[in-house]
Symmetry: D2
């Protein structure tokens, strides 16, 4: 990966952050997956009582909180991928290719059912 890339820079910065605190001992993929879903839930919590429309136009103060929840998710996602030796960008591009085959635009237009429900 290009070392000037933003995600690669974050990966390095987070690895140093953990190393300086001797936290690698806690950062097993199992534990990181738990931390990641706990952060995802803090995102969910912001939206649970809102209508879908309200979730589209958050008050400024709430948006600032949500922004940092998104950051937390990205941080643990990068750490998990790093510990497993996964290149997140390459994985996402692979997955998009799979989704393009699974959900051909002309077949699923305007329809959000899950893949398994098409078969």
């Amino acid at each position: 990966m290009d070392h000037s890339d933003s995600l690669e820079q974050l990966r390095q910065r987070l690895a140093e952050f953990a190393a300086e605190r001797d936290w690698d001992q806690f950062h097993t993929p199992k534990n990181l997956a738990m931390a990641l879903i706990a952060e995802a839930a803090e995102l969910v919590e912001h939206f649970q009582w809102l209508t879908p429309e309200q979730s589209n136009r958050l008050p400024e103060e709430k948006l600032a909180e949500v922004r940092l929840e998104l950051a937390d998710i990205l941080i643990y996602l990068i750490r998990t991928a790093d510990k497993l030796g996964v290149d997140l960008i390459a994985a996402a591009n692979d997955k998009i290719r799979i989704n393009e085959t699974r959900y051909p635009a002309e077949r699923v237009r305007g329809d959000a059912r899950r893949a398994s429900e098409y078969d």
Copy 2:
């Protein structure tokens, strides 16, 4: 953001993917947060019965599955951030700065308690 950046390229590709399928109507931040946590749970499910040690050395076939779960999380994270107008990289750098203040290396070395438990 630099348009040659990997995350920015993914953001654009995913926006086009949704537009071609007329899926933006479903992609409210509320719904995307739900999709994101559902993907995070698929990651958790891979690790739930493993020891922390086993989670560090996944069999090749399982790692390939886990890699695509990580991709799914990144995909929904990018979509959520895009819908909310959040720059993920800037947000993550801001959050790391907050964490550096909250968890000074000399104070928390080798100790994984949560911030609230230090006070």
Copy 3:
């Protein structure tokens, strides 16, 4: 707890189920919490692209699936509580009393903000 009680009967049945399969070794509270949230996510997945209104009137077939997701959550909740020696019914009654103090009816009527946002 009254041994004729439905929840106590389930607790016993699930303890026997695990014992017969020698699964207690996997059923640490840590692992059970992961299994529980993975089941909660399968519930979320059923609702993620539905409008709130659609979620109120599920087609019969989907309701049958959702019913079994709720069962899975209850099963892991009972197992977790059992392993921790927690009486779920007593805990829920204690928590409702706390909520009655935290959310006085006359103060929060028609308002779903979280407790922390009232202060």
Copy 4:
């Protein structure tokens, strides 16, 4: 369901709690599923940096917190089931019967792989 049953009593108490606060308008199954998983994540958060062994012997103060997280999960589970007209006890008994068929004791003893991995 027997009206002296503990779960049925909780169901009624929680329905009254919501009605007195005019909260039924927020309690769609979609929103309740989000609240439920957010509570499940608070449980996960307690365990994320613990070893499996540590999760088996929680300090008294932490156990008291975990007990109330379990209560929160049960509360939202009962509300969701109530809104969908699902009898949780009957559903759990049905699911256990399915699991007995899917995981015959003699076949899966001491082995925690998921059902799909046996085939």
